[in-house]
């Protein structure tokens, strides 16, 4: 679907060689922090922006030339595109629906986004969440085969988010393909068949939510606090399999071999009769794994006073 996509803004490479394939009926989430290039990719696929290089094919069309039959078969929910504030919900959906070859009946669309009570209310009097649902309605009114959702539930309260999710799930039950962007991990996990993690215009990880979680839990974190800094710990830490990081007396070991490393640490402590305060073994959440990936791309340093040591294999990334 997308191959080697690159988008420059002046000297900034907003999208830096992204390749992506989405199958029919699949829900794929582009996950990443602000500025990762998610929206740029989606806008290129929608035909709103032109790519610098690379090839793109969606539904057999090149969105760059954006033929009108292509826009007839896609639905777009942008992050922040306005709706005529003077018109009522029904009038807006009627007007936009008229442009599509096979549009859904307005009442059906209003029902789908649960705005029946507000159907004859002007858009300007709606709450932010309700306006977002009109956004969604306008993305659906053309009965699209492929739907782009750019941060569909940003600004929703938790209950509205759940409802938004069930709506999106209903769409895919109809066999629709969805490409959504989000910076909420739980949203990607809840909705997507496949998650693509982006940072600085590159794909840093890709897989089903379960796969990402499994890969993430492969790296376990062992944490403890040393009683006394004077103790020569460096040689012991050097023998560990995982990667060591710490600040002052706090030590954190990220390891793919938690059993061996934990035995090593506790054996060393027992030998010296040291009690390791706050000893904990933690499986990182998907959230932490994701933040790790993103931070790696940013090349974040440890804060002042931090120190790192490399114990053997230091890879904590997802593949």
């Amino acid at each position: 679907m997308v191959d080697g996509l690159v988008k420059h803004y002046g000297s900034v490479r907003a999208v830096d060689g992204v390749s992506l394939r989405v199958a029919e009926g699949e829900i794929v989430a582009l996950l990443g922090p602000n500025g990762a290039g998610k929206s740029t990719i989606v806008e290129i696929l929608e035909g709103h922006r032109h790519r610098t290089t690379g090839s793109v094919q969606v539904l057999g069309a090149d969105p760059g030339s954006a033929p009108s039959w292509y826009r007839d078969r896609i639905g777009i929910v942008l992050q922040s595109s306005g709706i005529d504030p003077e018109l009522t919900v029904r009038e807006v959906i009627d007007t936009y629906g008229a442009a599509y070859e096979r549009s859904r009946p307005t009442d059906e669309v209003i029902e789908m986004v649960e705005l029946a009570e507000k159907a004859d209310v002007r858009v300007t009097s709606l709450s932010g969440g309700q306006q977002r649902r009109v956004d969604l309605a306008l993305g659906l009114v053309g009965d699209p085969e492929l739907i782009f959702l750019d941060e569909p539930t940003t600004g929703f309260d938790p209950a509205a988010r759940r409802r938004g999710w069930s709506l999106i799930e209903n769409l895919t039950a109809l066999g629709r393909t969805v490409l959504l962007t989000t910076h909420y991990l739980d949203e990607a996990e809840h909705l997507a068949d496949r998650v693509v993690v982006l940072a600085q215009g590159r794909i840093v990880a890709e897989g089903t939510p379960a796969r990402l979680r499994a890969d993430a839990s492969a790296s376990t974190v062992i944490r403890f606090v040393l009683p006394d800094l004077a103790d020569p710990v460096a040689s012991m830490l050097g023998q560990l399999i995982g990667q060591v990081a710490g600040r002052g007396r706090h030590v954190e070991i990220t390891t793919d071999a938690p059993t061996a490393d934990l035995a090593h640490v506790t054996g060393w402590a027992l030998e010296r009769g040291i009690e390791l305060a706050e000893l904990a073994v933690v499986s990182p959440t998907l959230e932490e794994a994701y933040l790790d990936l993103v931070n790696e791309q940013h090349g974040d340093d440890e804060g002042p006073g931090g120190w790192t040591g490399d114990g053997g294999r230091a890879e904590a990334g997802l593949r």
């Binding site: 709103h48 826009r71 942008l78 922040s80 595109s81 018109l87 599509y100």
Partner: protein, 261 residues
């Protein structure tokens, strides 16, 4: 056929939007009528000398204010409306739908011309019925053609203004700061012949811009002294030139994406 249906949907939708903003509707439709009533009440409806010869107050003001209301229904409304739709991200949304962009723009222009027609008919009817302003069947075609050329010119100029204005506030200032002063040098609010000779440069400015030509051509088509069919080809040609120039600016500079990032 389908395109025509889409165009009708767009024009109706834009009309709805117009009527739901009372302040815009007031300035376009009611304000010029108030001016006509005021001017006739202030100056009396006697004949006075204009650069075109003797005329009653209402015979002078009716076509001028009709033209002014048509210009503000098209130029001012489109300039502000399109800019606000762009900055709200509505134009960008339109680009993501199969609606051909030109049909959307034609809807905006068509709706504005329709409102201009309503305001012109209201003004001319008021002048004829209340003040006995002259209307002749043989000069009606000239009135219609002049209205069509003039309102098309100001509509396209409105699109051009929205292409130039980066914000809604800029569009409001640009349209009002151009149209209202022009009204004073274009024989709309005052006759340049009254009160001695006006400075030459004021006349030149009036001659350059299309409002004076719109008012003059429409005034001739309503004048009791002109000969039927009263087509003013020179004035129409100047407006045509502006139509083409504004069209070029609009085509080259119009953007669908909001300027806010």
């Amino acid at each position: 056929m389908r395109t025509l249906r889409l165009l009708v949907v767009q024009i109706r939708s834009q009309n709805r939007i117009f009527w739901r903003v009372p302040i815009g509707a007031f300035f376009t439709l009611v304000f010029p009528v108030i001016l006509l009533v005021l001017f006739v009440a202030l100056f009396g409806n006697e004949d006075f000398n204009t650069s075109y010869g003797g005329s009653s107050t209402s015979q002078f003001y009716t076509p001028g204010l009709a033209v002014f209301s048509a210009a503000s229904a098209t130029y001012t409304n489109i300039g502000i409306n399109l800019t606000s739709r762009r900055e709200l991200g509505i134009l960008k949304r339109i680009r993501g739908t199969p609606l051909p962009p030109w049909v959307y723009l034609a809807g905006v222009v068509g709706s504005a011309v329709w409102i201009a027609l309503v305001s012109t008919v209201v003004m001319v009817s008021l002048g004829a019925l209340a003040y006995g302003v002259n209307i002749e069947a043989t000069k009606l075609p000239a009135m219609v053609v002049t209205f069509a050329v003039g309102s098309a010119t100001f509509a396209v100029a409105g699109v051009a203004i929205s292409a130039v204005a980066r914000t809604m506030a800029a569009a409001q200032s640009l349209t009002n700061a151009t149209l209202i002063p022009l009204g004073f040098v274009s024989n709309v609010f005052v006759s340049l012949g009254v009160g001695g000779d006006p400075p030459r440069w004021l006349e030149v400015i009036g001659d350059i811009f299309p409002l004076k030509h719109f008012a003059a051509a429409f005034g001739e088509a309503m004048s009791p002294f002109s000969d039927a069919p009263a087509f003013e080809w020179g004035h129409l040609a100047v407006m045509g030139g502006w139509l083409v120039a504004a069209g070029l600016v609009a085509v080259r500079m119009f953007r669908w994406e909001p300027n806010r990032s």
